[in-house]
Amino acid sequence: MVTDPVALQVAADLFPNGISRYAVGGMLVGLGAVVIYLGTGIPAGASTFLESTLSYVSGQSRFQRYVASRDWRVVFTLGIILGGFLFALTVQSGLVSSSLYQSGTTGQLHQLGGFTFWTTNVQPWRLFLGGTLVGIGTRIGKGCTSGHGVCGVGSASKTSIVGVITFLAVAIGTAQIVAALGVTP
């Protein structure tokens, strides 16, 4: 066991909320992708949904190429939304508790019908502007955190590893600049 007080202090500084909720949550994310892969052979990504769903309302050729997969991508996204909802009804509401889960102090909690829901404090302009760039970038860059980050890295794809390093490095630089400019939250 690690009992070195310096090492423990460093760990507490780097991981103020521990690591268990992150590791367990990450493994569940991977498990969700694996379930789909085992049954269908499809390495699922979350951002293609944006374009495939636009094919319902736009005849642009770029969106029409996703017509064949657009119905199950809607199902996948509904599953993700309801998975988050299920988490809110159980663990977030405290009805299911585990020593592996730390609730944290970010954002706002709202009680509704005996359940606990969460909203962000990050300002809407950041979400909208950032979201727009995420929408452009993930589609040009051939994947997002799930397509490149989970399935691509899991496949040891060099393209995905380069993609992840690129967006991670740029995101770190951007977030540091935004924070240094005093924008909070």
Partner: protein, 153 residues
């Protein structure tokens, strides 16, 4: 193609999505604050989300092609997720990185965020659709000149 899909195809996709979304909630990746704290080095826990997920999926991607040829519900061959590399990976990754650094949210996490009650994330989802539309419109106009587009994921 839609008609001869296995009846369990969509239910399985749905269950996979449920686990995926539950994990994004449990890991707090569905909270932009946590992503921003990671990017500013205040809490490096998100590393465990990314590596945890990639290791679990990596096992399946490494093992399945060796022990089975085809997936039961689609008949698709088990293949790794490999995409060709070109400068779009860098350009798109860079634009995505700026957006992720500003907002702290990515597509899958945004869907899950809606599920945990975060209606404010609709701003990000509206932006993502707008951004996807902008690039798709632009590329549709310019792609007609090019020979063939590669199959998307």
């Amino acid at each position: 193609m839609t008609d001869d899909r296995h009846p369990l195809f969509k239910p399985l996709i749905f269950v996979g999505g449920l686990i995926f979304g539950f994990g994004l909630g449990f890991s707090h990746m569905a909270r932009p604050e946590i992503v921003l704290q990671f990017l500013t080095f205040d809490d490096l826990g998100l590393l465990f989300v990314m590596f945890g997920a990639a290791i679990v999926s990596g096992i399946a991607f490494a093992v399945m092609p060796r022990i089975r040829d085809r997936a039961p519900l689609t008949g698709n061959a088990y293949e790794r997720r490999l995409k060709s590399f070109d400068r779009n990976v860098l350009i798109g990754g860079g634009i995505f990185g700026v957006g992720w650094g500003i907002s702290g949210i990515c597509p899958g996490a945004a869907y899950a965020s809606l599920g945990v009650g975060n209606i404010t994330i609709l701003w990000a989802l509206a932006g993502m659709f707008l951004g996807a539309y902008i690039q798709g419109y632009w590329r549709s106009q310019h792609a007609d000149a090019r020979p063939t587009a590669s199959a998307g994921d």
